[in-house]
Amino acid sequence: MNEKTTLPVVNEHGYFEIRLESIGGLGANLCGKMLGELGALLLSLNSLSFSSYGSEKRGSPVKAYIRWCENEKPLRVNSPVTHPHILALFHEGLIGTYPVLDGVSVDTKIILNTPLSPEDAAEKHHITMGELYCLDALAIAMECKSRINMVMLGAIAKASGFISLDDAKQICRDSIGKKYPALIDANLTGVELGYTRLAKAAAERNVEPLPEGGREQFVWGYDNAPIGGVNPRIGSTVSNNLSPSREGYIPLFLPEKCINCGLCDSTCPDMVFQFAPGIYKGKECMVNHGVDYYHCKGCLRCVEVCPTNALVTALEKDYPEKPHFVPNRHLLPDAITYQETGANSWITSDSYLDEKRVNGGVV
């Protein structure tokens, strides 16, 4: 254990605060837990960590919080971190959709997982406040067979200026090494590459106020919400855009091969196939008109059951204009504003079980 760590900066109540913004499945909870442990057990700090609480379902946005202070000082605040000293964004796609940049000040160190350079990322996402650091955590994780959270852990250590690479690796050994000794080397490499490959923006600091993040415009309250929690807006989940759930793959529809057997419709959990009356081989029948990609989570069940290869797996990036993209055909004509959300999908239980133990569950 280190002698004593001096925190470089603290807020008005005397705390140094970190916020991780992610979507389920990228390991932000575990990363937050490891940072908490690192503070408590290796940095001789008083430490607290927790995650946003919610469903066990994959993919909704996840936040993890870490709060540190001197060891002798009691940790008295247990609410979420609103003004982080370090803000780590595990998933670039959250920016603009969710208010993940809220509370950033000129002193905030922002660590962004992106293939872009810090300059390009700052311009693309209008990050006009704080000190921006970037790294391609996904590529690094794939390169060394580690996970995004380990790479981000290394990056956070580096950006902090007071967490040594040795300590970051030590907490990795302590947390993962005992349970999964086979995975430890790859993960240590992940931490190290995160630490060494983090790129800092050339400009010392951004100082322009940030634009407002995406927020719900309409709010139910005691004056306007139907009593008893009743919900009269039938089928309103249709306004969720679940595209962020996909992990890079889409089912590609090849209508010329389709025999309209309906097997895809029988296996799809997300009601994406738009069958409507039509003509097939000169006969009136239900015909598949296309795929509602707003709601496709990319599970590829349909590809697996299609008997004629009319549905095949494709890389989403190869099809920016998804062919045969047909929104739900029962929607009323009023304009619909889709809200990006959703499951970042299943991940293997070994890693997931770890996550889950940290995150808790529902009901």
Partner: protein, 781 residues
């Protein structure tokens, strides 16, 4: 240093036990304390946010760190029963629950206290339903106030540990059960640096042995034991038989209750000594209540739980402004420390009591009411303080330092209302325009496509069903909209869609709590395009039977139009464990409705704890695999057979791997439910997340479950069993290991060391299938 202090210092030096630093949450520490105590039995039922306590104990058990028998009951009511029985049998007993679990078990708590059986139960406080909320407030624990239990409230993980140790000692000294409550999530899930005794033996020495009159170790003084202070009589004591739980009326009940009252007063007397003793061992000071800057405070805020520390920051901020602010809290709710509280409040001009729950209509939450009552007893001489009440932080709403400051500022206003809510929102004005409908309601005509047709053959006494082709079934409008939050590849919507494709005409749905409900109705959205009702999962079937009967009643009275509705109750995630009684009762009464079970083989909505339908040997978060445990230790539940014993007209198993068969059986079930009585359908439902397999392959996993006869497809129509798919005759039968090997949760069973387990599973599956074949061959069976 005074002499007393010097003595105290020496004592501390001498007696303080070695401790080690941990970085753990309240739940983890409750489990750790239980492990150190090594209770005999934990009877429990998983419920967020307390579930981790059992999960952590199971993890430690799999690794051989303790010997507590963890019994996953089929509901909290039974869990409390298990605890009661185990304590009556002389054991040390432990439980953990939250919210509606606590309320479901409520009637058992006065039994435990009234018959004077000590035990410890942790309550990770959570909002009670409905609408269903998984997050934290104090609406559950306040139901405990009148149960005769001692209630300790921990405001941080460290105190969860401390109270779990001290609580058991107190429980056994005064022979009352003890609840250790703490904030769900804020305390149950936040990890903190804390101290635990390094050596389990220190804990066991501190609490001491529980002496039971039936134990050989105590038989030498068994005579004194029946009345002895430290010895417990037991229903296992054959030499000194006792009757526990008499039938008792006036004039005796009042005396029994007076004894309970005296025990509570005894607890009040003993607690200061216990606090002092614990401080000697641990160096940590515990107390009935506590104040921060309270002595000279003119304005005092009262909060319970983790908010106490947040409020301290607010006090510091206000003191910098020159406001004489202070904050107080309670650690012991029963016995209520009125005297100590009065001392803390003696200089306050205003006390603002912030309650994390409401006693609706009483003008305050329970803490307001109790503090008001306690300060009524204030000694004369000082002016009575003004007491204001605010309800705050419901449903897990965060409590920031700014909120605490805002509460103080309200309290400083002369004109502040006596009672109000803090933190409510009126909502956006002009809601009608801003919130259009996305769909039109589905008409009966639109959903009557003739995809299936059912005709009852009077002569044969059977329902004939035709249709069900998948290519036609695509024409059925989706009663459930896309955009729900189920995991990619989840089997639940797949099964629901197949089911609903087979049901022509109007439907009304009821879902019990579970994944299917959680992912479809996250407020302010809903996936349902047809009428839908939720109830908690011990009661869905009964609730829908009420809907069914009022439909018929109102039709009969001419208050509701003629016509038919298919009523459909959807259960899963263990709903047929805790809800089995309700389902059986409904089936026995024969209400005209369908009970549909999507069996995903675990309590997936809470993070995959074992259900009775989890395959034997499967890993779950309450059946870990380790050196002392191979996973779930008993066979999967055969729910269709239980339902068959109610002799309802139609029972069938369905699988997505046989989709047309599924649709036809759904049509049959609907026809039977409309005309004859209750129908029951069960689908095996894939859960890629917790089965730990690939979402795109789920249909083949389900197919394998059918082909290995783990999940045979059959129906029982008016008592006659028919195999609707026989893998044997189609030469498709596979060994069960093929299916088990497809899922991460059961893959470990293929190792050589578990061969005896898989052989046992195979034998049981074969036996059950052979019975089924025999029944199918013989109409009388």
């Amino acid at each position: 240093m005074t002499r007393d202090e010097a003595d105290h210092g020496r004592r501390m030096e001498k007696k303080m036990e070695e401790q080690k630093v941990m970085y753990d949450s309240g739940n983890e520490l409750a489990a750790y304390a239980a492990k150190q105590i090594n209770y005999h039995v934990m009877g429990y039922y998983p419920i967020t946010p307390s579930t981790q306590i059992a999960e952590n104990l199971d993890t430690m058990r799999a690794e051989g760190q303790h010997d507590i028998l963890l019994i996953a009951a089929e509901g909290e009511h039974s869990a409390a029963g298990i605890c009661y029985g185990a304590s009556a049998g002389g054991g040390r007993v432990f439980n953990a629950t939250s919210a509606n679990g606590l309320l479901y078990a409520l009637e058992q708590f006065p039994v435990q206290s009234g018959t004077r059986m000590p035990m410890v139960m942790n309550i990770a406080c959570r909002t009670i339903s409905g609408p269903l909320c998984i997050k934290g407030d104090h609406s559950d624990v306040m139901y405990m106030l009148n149960t005769g239990w001692i209630i300790l409230f921990a405001d941080e993980p460290q105190k969860v540990y401390d109270f779990n140790l001290l609580g058991l000692k107190l429980a056994e000294q005064v022979r009352l059960p003890v609840a250790v409550a703490f904030d769900g999530f804020f305390t149950s899930h936040q990890k903190r640096k804390c101290l635990v005794f390094s050596d389990d033996a220190v804990v066991q020495r501190y609490i001491g042995p529980k002496l039971s009159s039936d134990s050989p170790a105590t038989s030498a003084f068994a005579k004194e034991c029946s009345t002895g202070e430290n010895c417990f009589s037991s229903v296992l004591d054959l030499a000194h038989p006792i009757s526990v739980g008499s039938y008792m009326n006036e004039p005796d009940v009042i005396n029994n209750r007076y004894q309970l009252h005296l025990a509570m007063e005894e607890a009040r007397r003993k607690l200061p000594d216990l606090f002092a003793e614990y401080e000697t061992l641990s160096g940590r000071k515990l107390s009935f209540c506590d104040g921060y800057q309270a002595n000279d405070a003119e304005i005092l805020l009262f909060v319970l739980g983790s908010s106490y520390y947040t409020a301290m920051e607010a006090v510091d901020a206000l003191r910098r402004e020159g406001v004489k602010a202070g904050v107080i809290t309670l650690y012991v709710l029963r016995p209520f420390p009125a005297m100590e509280l009065r001392e803390l409040c003696k200089n306050a001009k205003t006390i603002l009591v912030a309650d994390r729950q409401d006693s609706y209509g009483a003008g305050g939450g329970n803490m307001t009411l109790e503090i008001r009552a306690a300060l009524q007893g204030q000694k004369s001489g000082s002016a009575a303080p003004r007491i204001l009440s605010r309800v705050y932080g419901l449903g897990g709403m965060d409590f920031f330092v700014e909120d605490a400051i805002a509460l103080f500022r309200e309290g400083l206003m002369e004109t502040a209302a006596d009672f109000d809510y803090y933190g409510v929102t009126s909502g956006t004005a002009d809601s009608g325009k801003a919130q259009p409908q996305y769909f039109k309601p589905i008409t009966e005509e639109e959903s009557s496509k003739g995809i299936t047709t059912c005709v009852f053959d009077e002569a044969a006494g059977k329902m004939t069903v035709t249709g069900g082709a998948l290519k036609d079934a695509t024409g059925m409008p989706m009663r459930i909209a896309p955009g729900h939050g189920a995991c990619p590849g989840c089997g639940i919507p797949v099964n629901l869609n197949l089911l609903l494709k087979g049901i022509e005409g109007n439907v009304v749905l009821l879902f019990q709590t579970g994944c299917g409900m959680v992912v479809t109705t996250g407020y302010p959205k809903t996936a349902f395009r047809v009428p839908y009702l939720h109830n908690l999962f011990q009661n869905g079937a009964a609730t829908l039977s009420g809907v069914v009967e009022v439909f018929h009643q109102r039709q009969k009275r001419g208050e509701y139009p003629e016509g038919q509705i298919t009523f459909l109750m959807v259960s899963g995630d263990g709903g047929m464990d805790i809800g089995m009684g309700s389902a059986l009762g409904t089936a026995l009464r024969g209400h005209r409705m369908i009970i549909f079970e999507y069996d995903n083989g675990g309590y997936m909505n809470t993070g995959y704890q074992l259900s009775y339908s989890t395959p034997m040997g499967a890993r779950s978060s309450t059946s870990h695999v380790g050196k002392d445990q191979y996973g779930k230790s008993f066979f999967h539940k055969d729910t269709p057979e239980l339902m068959a014993a109610t002799h309802i007209p139609y029972i069938a198993t369905v699988a997505e791997s046989n989709p047309s068969d599924f649709i036809r059986k759904a049509a049959k079930a609907a026809a039977y439910s409309r005309e004859f009585g209750t129908a029951y359908l069960k689908a095996l439902s894939a859960c890629p997340l917790n089965w730990n397999d690939k979402p795109d392959l789920e249909r083949s996993v389900i197919s394998a479950a059918v082909d290995c006869c783990y999940f045979p497809l059959y129906e029982i129509e008016r008592g006659i069993t028919t195999l609707t798919y026989d893998p044997q005759s189609k030469n498709k039968k596979i060994p069960v290991t093929e299916w088990l090997g497809m899922m991460g949760r059961t893959k470990h069973l293929l190792k050589d060391e578990y061969r005896s387990v898989t052989e046992e599973i195979q034998a049981e599956i074969d036996r059950r299938f052979a019975r089924l074949c025999a029944r199918a061959e013989h109409p009388l069976l």
